[in-house]
Symmetry: D2
Amino acid sequence: MTATRPDLRDRAYSWHDPQLTAAAARDVDGLTFLRRMAAGEVPAPPITATLGFTVLEVDAGRVVFGLEPAEYHFNPIGSVHGGVIATLLGSAAGCAVHSTLPAGTAYTSLDLSVKFLRGLGTDSGPVRCEGLVVHRGNRTALAEARLHDGTGRLCAHATSSCMIFS
Amino acid sequence: MTATRPDLRDRAYSWHDPQLTAAAARDVDGLTFLRRMAAGEVPAPPITATLGFTVLEVDAGRVVFGLEPAEYHFNPIGSVHGGVIATLLGSAAGCAVHSTLPAGTAYTSLDLSVKFLRGLGTDSGPVRCEGLVVHRGNRTALAEARLHDGTGRLCAHATSSCMIFS
Amino acid sequence: MTATRPDLRDRAYSWHDPQLTAAAARDVDGLTFLRRMAAGEVPAPPITATLGFTVLEVDAGRVVFGLEPAEYHFNPIGSVHGGVIATLLGSAAGCAVHSTLPAGTAYTSLDLSVKFLRGLGTDSGPVRCEGLVVHRGNRTALAEARLHDGTGRLCAHATSSCMIFS
Amino acid sequence: MTATRPDLRDRAYSWHDPQLTAAAARDVDGLTFLRRMAAGEVPAPPITATLGFTVLEVDAGRVVFGLEPAEYHFNPIGSVHGGVIATLLGSAAGCAVHSTLPAGTAYTSLDLSVKFLRGLGTDSGPVRCEGLVVHRGNRTALAEARLHDGTGRLCAHATSSCMIFS
């Protein structure tokens, strides 16, 4: 596909059938699943291709995602849309909880509360977003996530509660 | 671009230089700007192309966005990623505030608090997300947004505070 | 009890054994329980005496509390402490959910997200705080609450998620 | 004052004219003001007497409050009302921000987002609630607070955004 007007930009990308990802998550604990995804042994879900973010680090109760801000993330005022920031924070928080789950357990996010502290432009990268488990109960868990720009400044913060299912 | 493996899918899309959008926002009030965008007279920002959502309705203090859920929105468990839902809710809430601003005024979102009530799959569309201004002060505004699936069920709710600048 | 210094103020109040309240809640549905409390047939819980607020109206999915701001609610800057506002909003939201529960069911608040829009002083009363159910699922419910001052201005807003137990 | 019925309990308490507290805050930086309050040289605001909590520790960007749970804090289900927990969390978060402010600067809380993780009873004390500044900008600040029971278990978490004024 070729843009015919100078103000038109295009992008093409691909992703894997998400059923492969879901199948790979089924019989293993969360930490193993996420580490396989970080290692490229399990395909990352479609949204990571759509928004261009990747799993960088996975530990028990801690997951880090990375993003290189680009124009296709932009809102009308020329910076990364808050929804992209929310997506990274929610992913980091949710996966931090996932990394604590034994095989045969699943979770769903109940909420996501984001604070936007500093805008992101194309010169802000590489962005790092770290999720940490704050509290892990039997039925619910609470995680927080912090997003830092390439110079280490805190740009956004979130908390997220998850419900855990057997 | 062609996928050579049956589990690989691809997507190509285009958007307009966001500086055109920003320039169109500069000298008009928010309601006029958003209505021009809804009418296609002003290009929508890149994030709307990346995630495939559109402005459906614009009134003073009320904006509705639409989305058709698709596989490229998916998280690892085969439903629309919460970040996509957050993006719609944040856009609807923020634009509802924007629609109340006179020319020469700008806003920035301070926060976004999302509650996920029901998951979205490819059979959930078309999704409608309505943002409403709850309180409009001089320096800050509060908006809420509700996202309903194609059968009218409430699937997510958010509130967002914005700071207003002259 | 008498204050001996002009800058010292005192207050005395009483409440009922909360086990009476808990017992009265046990075998009835939430709406009946809350209406008995509003009618004075069931003692209100201790916190309502401590902070001086009362149930004004009870419907299915909607509860209104009232408060007369006073100096004993104050923070260091001479207005009602945000925690008092949060208490009213959380009570109104939680009781709105409670009013939808059948006998033999209980709930617990998972979270409370408050936005402070306008301060309250001793001349702001009587304050009305209305809680409404936004979404009622089988395991969780979402409610919102709005607090208005005596002239009808919106002063605070909250959302709260509750978990429901059989 | 004497209760004449066995199910009636009463409590009497006193506080200082809050204008004394406000005057003491005026010409000093936040850290000095809060340390004077912790040392008893400046009267604590009325709400601390009403709900029975005290400042335990004050550092730059960090404030700890303490509470001994009692029946007068109770909700209808026989545990400390979430509003009391919200009050402590909001105070700790707000005062942590206050402790970073130079003389002649004031702040107001824009929001408070609380997660309730574990209930508190009369055997849960002494409760400690620590507020920490997460981000300190020129016009806004973000703080978080964590409340632990007497055995060190995390019982509640909050974030709060504040607006800063010169």
